[in-house]
Every structure is written in structure tokens, then in C-alpha cells.
Amino acid sequence: EAGVAQSPRYKIIEKRQSVAFWCNPISGHATLYWYQQILGQGPKLLIQFQNNGVVDDSQLPKDRFSAERLKGVDSTLKIQPAKLEDSAVYLCASSFVLRNNEQFFGPGTRLTVL
């Protein structure tokens, strides 16, 4: 089966610019996650969707970050405007069910903010 797809793989932007990341989860997976992984740290959950509804966005900096999963399949994460500290790898993951299930991660998007 196809894995989690993400694009772009790499992105370099200037601070205060906007950027968007796209994720297509594994077919049939109802739960989708966006994580931020700063170099040398573990992934940090930004937002978790169940179908097209948000179940947790407590760690999402809502003044600059937004995410949507309109049709309950693919998802977009946006940063506007970007700050230097947003430089990280943004990982998308999906799982078949909501709780205590293996998460399948995509290859990630490496963002560099200059």
C-alpha cells in the first residue's frame, strides 16, 4: 500500500513570508497528525484530525499556524508569517483509528527560515 505522501520535501523562505505544506494520508486512515520536529528533539504534535474535525490543536500557535482537512482526506498546514524559530521538519502522520494505534509517518518537509 502507498505510504503517507508529503510535499514539498524542502522549502527555504525568508522570515515573514508564508508557506504551505501538503499531506495525503494512507487510504482509509481516519486520523491525521501534523508534528513539528526541531533538530535534536522529538516530534511535537501541532494538530490532530479525526476525519475532517479537529480533536486537538492545543500546541498549535494559532496566531501564525493554520491547518485544514476539508474532505477528511488530504490536509494542508500553513504558516503565515514565518519566524526564524519555525525552522524544523514538519511531519505528517496517519493512523487507522484514533487511539493506541500505529502511526505511519510521511517523509517530512524540511523548512528553513532565513
Binding site: G42, F104, F105, P107
Partner: protein, 112 residues
């Protein structure tokens, strides 16, 4: 809420054993273990549920001590392919949505 992993790093020779610990200050419902190789995405190893038994994946196994709110990952007879960063992720008993909090990771290097 982030779990604490120890050690931060370990260097092994092929065939040696190692233990990685993951501790939480809050009551845990489950512990998840992932391995991430450099430049790649994390890959699932196993889940341990509260009240569950010790799990295994090849020669990698793990246990969950509910009294201590701690999980340990055991790398037995390590192979070169075991190199990578190991992350534990914890789900609190109070979290109905299964939100995973990852630790900072333990870097494992296995040498020939």
C-alpha cells in the same frame, strides 16, 4: 507532560545489549516506541498498554511498569541496523483522544 528518556545516547558494539528508559510524572495509559534513522521518518516499533504484557519486535522488547509510570526498551544482541534515535511516546490516562507526547530521544550507535 513530555516523558523523560535516558540515556541521551549510547554506543554499542555489535552483539551487545542496551536498555533505554522512558519515565512520566503522570499516569500513563500507553507507551509507544518509534525508531528514526538519520534523515528519515520515525518508524513504529511497538505499543504497550496499561495492564498489558511485555512486547517484542525481533530482538527488541519492551516492558511497562505501571507503578513507576515507566517503560524500558531492551535492545538484545544489537545489530548494525539498530542504529538510530529511539523515541518513546506516551498517552496519558486523562487523554481520550490518544495524544502522543514524545520524549527527546535516545541516540543509539552500533559499531562493528
Amino acid at each position: 507532560q513530555q516523558p523523560v528518556q535516558s540515556p541521551q545516547a549510547v554506543i554499542l558494539r555489535e552483539g551487545e545489549d542496551a536498555v533505554i528508559n522512558c519515565s512520566s510524572s503522570k499516569a500513563l495509559y500507553s507507551v509507544h516506541w518509534y525508531r528514526q534513522k538519520h534523515g528519515e521518518a520515525p518508524v513504529f516499533l511497538m505499543i504497550l498498554l496499561k495492564g498489558g504484557e511485555q512486547k517484542g519486535h525481533e530482538k527488541i522488547s519492551a516492558s511497562f511498569n505501571e507503578k513507576k509510570q515507566q517503560s524500558s526498551l531492551y535492545l538484545t544482541a544489537s545489530q548494525l541496523s539498530y542504529s538510530g534515535t529511539y523515541f518513546c511516546g506516551t498517552v496519558l490516562t486523562t487523554d481520550s483522544w490518544g495524544k502522543l507526547q514524545f520524549g527527546a530521544g535516545t541516540q543509539v550507535v552500533v559499531t562493528p
